[in-house]
Symmetry: C2
Subunit: 225 residues, 2 copies
Amino acid sequence: MTQDLDIARIAALVGEPARAAMLLALDDGRALPAGELAACAAVSAPTASGHLGAMRDAGLLEVVQQGRHRYYRLASAQVAALLESLMLVAAQNPARVATSRVDPLLQAGRTCYSHLAGRLGVALCDALIARDGLCIDDDIARFSPSGIHMLEDFGLDVHVLRRQPVSKTCIDWSERRHHLSSPVGAAIYRRCLQLGWVRHHLDSRAVSITKAGTKGFQSTFGLAM
Amino acid sequence: MTQDLDIARIAALVGEPARAAMLLALDDGRALPAGELAACAAVSAPTASGHLGAMRDAGLLEVVQQGRHRYYRLASAQVAALLESLMLVAAQNPARVATSRVDPLLQAGRTCYSHLAGRLGVALCDALIARDGLCIDDDIARFSPSGIHMLEDFGLDVHVLRRQPVSKTCIDWSERRHHLSSPVGAAIYRRCLQLGWVRHHLDSRAVSITKAGTKGFQSTFGLAM
DNA sequence: GCGATGATTCGGCGCAAGCCGAAGCGTAGG
DNA sequence: CCTACGCTTCGGCTTGCGCCGAATCATCGC
């Protein structure tokens, strides 16, 4: 066996609290400078630098130099998918012994590598299903004509959806429920930002809903927050 | 942050060559006794026992006792998905410096948690596409009427496909190409076994094609091995 | 230019964790 | 009942690696 070592090498990189914290901070696709990642992981700059270098060498991260800063970001969507896989497995195993404390970030929503996840992402998905705009079968979502109509009202360019009214879903690790993922999910997220319905907090991947968003989600999707 | 630790704990378990070897041996869904897993990982029985216990406690493995043997298997499809995620990331990163040696298992095919992967899985998928039976867009596969007809000839119960001619795909880590996954992929694999077209080697997850299979793949799917 | 700031490299410390041999426990089978 | 066998627990050894402080390099602003 030779691929054992390959996957063990990758998993070992992620299996270190400091490195895992950095990867999670990058999970939504942003690029962050080394110093900030050191702070996220609560380690010193030299330690962080070592970790980041190792992850870059292994192909998990990309680095882009800008002035005296070096911005790191996830190297590919596959790496993000790997993190989501890990979160899913971690969320459903019984290690939640004394961790009843709920992370405040989960209260509203969060982004998941360019699409909406968390409570908002799941609720949006549920609302579409409740109004017969969408049906999900075995992780695959199909839009109905009325669902496409809703997205049109929302301001999305849906001509691709007309050809193939299908999207992938992603199981949210915090809610254990489906939400829409790329590319439709990403388009919805971009449109939400554009309309000012949600705001992306710069220091994390939390997402909060604006007043306009509350009204908009209500009128367009029948979503009561 | 609290979920950092969760995913790090899971990843650290996988990130150990001996444990990774055991998980990979279980990747196709079989249940194996502790002793055999120790051999797979090339460690002593006590060492293996410690690893297996830790993975069971973490919810990665399930154990079923049968006589004086204890059979371990992956606890859920999510764990298998995690392994596939890791293989995908591991396969596409540039750590293939001196590992030009090709694993003989990949030559014919392999199973991937109850469906066909490897060269055979990818070739079958390609053949369906080439004959306009299938089109893949963004990891989602749709069957055309002629594709459904081919599967019918093959002996599959396709009434569910008529309602929703859609399936998921899985990117094979060795071929870097799509192949069909559950539930259609699993049905195809079961039917192949039933027809005696492929044989599952008991000591690994390799799959070999029988003479009947060569003929059958040729006549039904136009697949030249 | 010169200090300030971000990032990396180097060296040494300390702990966590993997490994095995020996011993213990339970089941199978004569 | 007693031996054989599969698996686990226990104790102790060793090594790998995560951590930091100090030093080095590069870039920005003045």
